[in-house]
């Protein structure tokens, strides 16, 4: 049976002049996708730096730390610019609230930014090496959480496509984080010319692509009505582009040791694939909130 026929059959539903029941998210492009991408890049790059240090790869250590710090700073900038009152960013730190993923995420981002900045500064200046390493070790704890908590951020909404995907989204973001960090590692290896930098980055590209692709496959295989925007429309299209970029990037990574151009092209494809997947997730949420059928049909089909 072709995949299309497995779709939930069109059902009758009533609405108020076809208007949305939910408010369509006020989170904008490129702010939200860029924040998601930079957060996961920073998180995985921090872990990459620590793993490189443990295996004595100085070029990759420095790259991991610097990328982690810059991406955290960039992510913070996008998060702040997204606020209706950016000058009130510090109001995020009035409370620490476990029921608010954005509160938890803000604290994570602040802590992770401080740790990665310290580690990068130590690496660049050569000062306070042990303290820099301790900060880097700390960022290897905050990093993975910073990369995957956005799965909770998006799922903890009324948007059916996001909420129903609280299992898949963190895995998707973990995979995207790995491919983004692999891109940073491959670019570093291409620039330093050190084959020892390329080996683990290549492996990271394959692991990340497998995880990202696996999470997308989980979403793809779902045939419930809430998951429909992952297959159709702009979101579905962007997901297909993202997957094509990630797969070709990881294949190209195999040639990274032979060709500097291949390494750089692979890095660009992997980073582009990860970023495109973030745009796809955003578009999926917009469509899911915009069409009232998703709210009505998920709530009348006993889905919850």
């Amino acid at each position: 049976m072709p995949a299309e026929e497995l779709q939930v059959p069109p059902a009758e539903f009533e609405s108020y002049y076809g208007r949305p029941i939910l408010k369509v998210t006020r989170w904008r492009e490129p702010h939200l996708p860029a924040y998601l991408f930079l957060g996961e890049l920073s998180g995985a790059a921090a872990v990459l730096g620590v793993a490189a240090q443990a295996t004595r790869r100085p070029g990759l250590v420095r790259a991991g730390r610097v990328v982690a710090a810059l991406a955290a700073a960039g992510g913070s900038a996008f998060l702040t610019a997204e606020l209706g009152r950016p000058e009130r960013f510090l109001h995020m730190l009035r409370v620490a609230k476990p029921t608010s993923p954005m509160s938890m995420g803000s604290w994570l981002l602040i802590g992770h930014s401080a740790l990665t900045s310290a580690a990068a500064a130590s690496s660049l200046t050569g000062l306070l090496g042990p303290l820099g390493s301790a900060a880097a070790a700390g960022s290897a704890v905050t990093g993975p959480l910073l990369a995957t908590y956005p799965g909770v951020l998006l799922a903890d909404t009324a948007v059916p496509a996001w909420h129903s995907s609280y299992r898949e989204l963190p895995l998707l973001f973990a995979g995207g984080a790995l491919t983004a960090a692999a891109a940073a590692g491959l670019a570093t290896g291409a620039l330093t010319g050190d084959p020892r930098d390329l080996g683990p980055s290549r492996a990271l590209a394959l692991v990340g692509a497998a995880l990202e692709g696996g999470a997308e496959l989980l979403l793809e295989r779902r045939r419930d009505i809430a998951a429909e925007p992952y297959h159709i429309g702009e979101g579905g299209k962007l997901f297909r582009y993202a997957r094509a970029a990630t797969v070709s990037g990881s294949v190209l990574a195999l040639a990274a040791r032979r060709s500097r151009v291949a390494a750089l092209a692979s890095a660009a494809l992997l980073a582009g694939g990860s970023l495109t997947a973030k745009f796809a997730v955003h578009r999926v949420g917009i469509e899911s909130a915009r069409d009232p059928k998703y709210v009505v049909q998920t709530q009348t089909a006993g889905w919850q």
């Binding site: 539903f13 009533e14 609405s15 108020y16 002049y17 208007r19 029941i21 939910l22 408010k23 998210t25 006020r26 989170w27 995985a44 990459l48 793993a51 490189a52 295996t55 997204e82 606020l83 209706g84 009152r85 009130r88 960013f89 109001h91 995020m92 009035r94 409370v95 609230k97 029921t99 608010s100 993923p101 954005m102 509160s103 993975p144 995957t148 799965g151 909770v152 799922a155 903890d156 909404t157 009324a158 609280y166 299992r167 963190p170 895995l171 973990a174 790995l178 692999a182 080996g199 683990p200 980055s201 492996a203 990271l204 692991v207 990340g208 949420g285 709210v295 009505v296 709530q299 009348t300």
Partner: protein, 303 residues
């Protein structure tokens, strides 16, 4: 904090939020749409009392949705009267009470020359002031708070406009105001409540479609009204948001409707998103572990 802080019925919603014993009892709205005449006095009174901004010139448009040009609840409209026009069979459009008298209500249709009838549903929508309010749960600044009356309000001096509440509300009520940057919604006239007055919309409603009072009393009023309508043959009448066992722990503002909720633009069976929050954090934790393990695998066995 009690065991049901994220989901399920909650006997004392203000107490759960930290108010000490002796706080005022929980108040709410019962909006009986069967007597709504669509006058929009509630919308006007709300705008007047709360000083809500005029719609900008480019939004002063005719929607083509019957007499509804407000279109939706939002940052500048805290009451919204929906107008639904339905073609119905003449027999079902008219209902009679126990004595055989015609009931003149929103469910009674006017028969035209061709014999078909139009039923006109009108309903004044408002923030539901949920027992488990997703907007309040997800607010990262503490701008959204539970009041001593059991209602939910935004503190404008705290809100930084992150817009998380906008996506969390299962009813699409709260929104960020253009040009202002902060989130706004119905306060159930918190200032009037503090002064011992009823909210402006309830005060202005000429047919008592909007009733204000202690929530426990309103629930009794509502079930009596429902029984009355059912006895009169208006079998399509139903309560919406009155059940403490529903997905939001019951609404502080609930309704008597004459059709399915989605016909009025309401979600049929909303569930507070934070019900699943512990599971969401578990999956994020698992994914974080997978990420770290992925890096370890990539470096393992390489010199």
């Amino acid at each position: 904090m009690s065991g049901n802080s994220l989901y399920g019925p909650l006997a004392d919603v203000s107490g759960d939020a930290g108010y000490v014993a002796g706080h005022p009892e929980r108040v709410g709205f019962f909006t009986d749409t069967s007597v709504c005449i669509g006058c929009k006095a509630c919308e006007v009174a709300c705008k007047e009392w709360n000083g809500l901004p005029d719609p900008s010139a480019d939004r002063l448009t005719l929607t083509g949705m019957s007499y509804d040009n407000t279109a939706e609840l939002g940052s500048d409209s805290w009451r919204h009267v929906a107008f639904v026009e339905q073609a119905v069979a003449p027999a079902s459009a008219l209902s009679r009470d126990a004595d055989g008298q015609l009931i003149i209500s929103a469910s009674a249709g006017d028969t035209d020359d061709s014999g078909s009838a139009t039923r006109w549903l009108m309903a004044s929508d408002v923030c539901k002031h949920c027992t488990h309010a997703a907007c309040l749960d997800v607010c990262p600044t503490g701008a959204l708070v539970r009041t001593e009356f059991g209602t939910v309000i935004v503190q404008p001096d705290v809100c930084n406009g992150c817009a998380y509440c906008v996506s969390a509300c299962p009813f699409g009520v709260i929104d960020r105001r253009e040009g202002d940057g902060r989130a706004w919604k119905c306060t159930m006239c918190y200032d009037r409540l503090r002064g011992g007055l009823e909210p402006a919309c309830a005060k202005a409603c000429p047919t008592d479609s909007i009733q204000f009072g202690p929530l426990s009393e309103l629930r009794e009023t509502a079930s009596a009204r429902l029984a009355e309508l059912h006895a009169a043959g208006v079998t399509e009448a139903r309560l919406y948001g009155d059940d403490p066992d529903d997905g939001i722990g019951g609404a502080g503002a609930f309704f008597l409707l004459l059709d399915e909720p989605q016909v009025y633009g309401l979600p049929p069976d909303p569930v507070v998103t934070t019900r699943d929050l512990p599971a969401m954090w578990r999956w994020a934790g698992i994914a974080a572990g997978v990420l770290a393990a992925g890096v370890a695998v990539a470096f393992a066995g390489r010199r």
